[in-house]
Symmetry: C2
Subunit: 235 residues, 2 copies
């Protein structure tokens, strides 16, 4: 393997109701960086369940975590319960204030927004929450991965893989990123062209939007409240 | 959501040294089937570590698992230690003998091979182990996902997502598969064309092959031994 480089401390926040793939996609890529250490972090070290029942075990508590070179902030329906959580938002804020890199995946961007680190930044998130980015002072970008300085944001769920490969490329170079892509045989062949809200058939979009109805409404109310707290003016 | 259908029992074998993404990719897709229940299975219910240290917690033991509609067999370096394991191979064999569906991901195909269920079947696996399929009596196919009756095989690691979407399509129809693809925003944009051994640059392939040198040698010796046990003639 090339590009060993210095040790790299990577952490991801896990929480009840996380979407596990927002985490496990980036883990698969970033944990393959030689001399990287990837820790799952939460308030306690007791296991948490993802939104579909997948059990995740934190390696360390947020308060005992070392300074991180990369923080991964995943999303999932459980993100909504953390939008006023001082321990979580303070952790994200302090990490960003040290000038270290953050990868938000899916609605993890909303947590970053509530922590105030999206202000003035170009960013993306899951298509069904994309209209909320403005409440956090972000410049919404319609892209799968957005790199704005130390903030890398990835769109919905599986976009975390693409975002993580970009991070490997930035931190350790394209040679290693390509090696990792080959190891995980990442040459996707989705069986349909239904992966975005601009390519999926209208009835498919309508059904998925309907299934998100309540959580999207809750997220919108929360985003408005957070905007007021952050002093961000929205229409 | 459409296509509720009858309840679906899904299980995946987890084991020490599994590659977590071989499991978590299919979990992300299949656990979204309405009325599906997805269990992680192992000999004991104590947590196991994946090849890069990710902690996975079994939901149920192999011996207490209900009859499954779909069995996911993931790979990873730890697969090698199970190639003569009667409990694991017997479980795979008994599942297939009931006529139920199996999804092998990555080198999970080698476990299926050692269980004897690849005999005469078209199949694929991770590119670095693809030459071993013949030892198990399989017909090696150079494809990302191969469907041969009740056996669905996916190539390396991330191909499990594509394989799982195919299974949703087969079991519950393309409408639901497209909804799930949209939910997980699966419209990949790999930053390089390095995802297969036919598209990656030669130096990238050489570096990755070198890192796989020892495990590939071990897998080859094991495959020869298993072929002899299964009575499969190879040159």
């Amino acid at each position: 393997m090339l590009n060993h480089g210095p040790e790299l401390e990577i952490g991801a926040i896990v929480f009840p109701g996380i979407d596990q793939a927002d985490l496990t996609g980036p883990f698969e890529v970033l944990s393959r960086i030689p001399s990287a250490r990837f820790r799952l972090l939460w308030k306690e070290k007791t296991p948490v369940c993802d939104v579909n029942g997948f059990v995740l075990t934190p390696d360390e508590t947020l308060s005992a975590a070392p300074p991180l070179d990369v923080l991964v902030v995943p999303g999932g329906r459980g993100q909504e319960a953390l939008m006023d959580d001082e321990a979580v938002l303070g952790f994200i804020q302090a990490h960003a204030a040290r000038g270290s890199m953050t990868l938000s995946v899916c609605t993890g961007a909303l947590l970053c927004g509530a922590a105030g680190i999206l202000r003035g930044a170009r960013a993306t998130t899951h298509w069904a929450s994309h209209h909320l980015l403005g409440y956090f002072g972000a410049i919404p970008i319609d892209a799968r991965v957005v790199v704005d300085g130390k903030l890398i944001s990835a769109a919905g769920v599986t976009a975390g893989i693409d975002g993580a490969l970009r991070i490997v490329s930035i931190l350790r170079g394209g040679e290693l990123a390509q090696q990792i892509q080959l190891m995980i045989e990442y040459a996707p062949e989705p069986p349909f062209s239904s992966g975005t809200s601009s390519t999926a058939p209208p009835d498919v979009i309508a059904a998925v939007r309907a299934s998100y109805g309540q959580i999207t409404e809750e997220r919108t109310l929360t985003a408005r409240r957070v905007a007021a707290r952050l002093g961000i003016e929205t229409e």
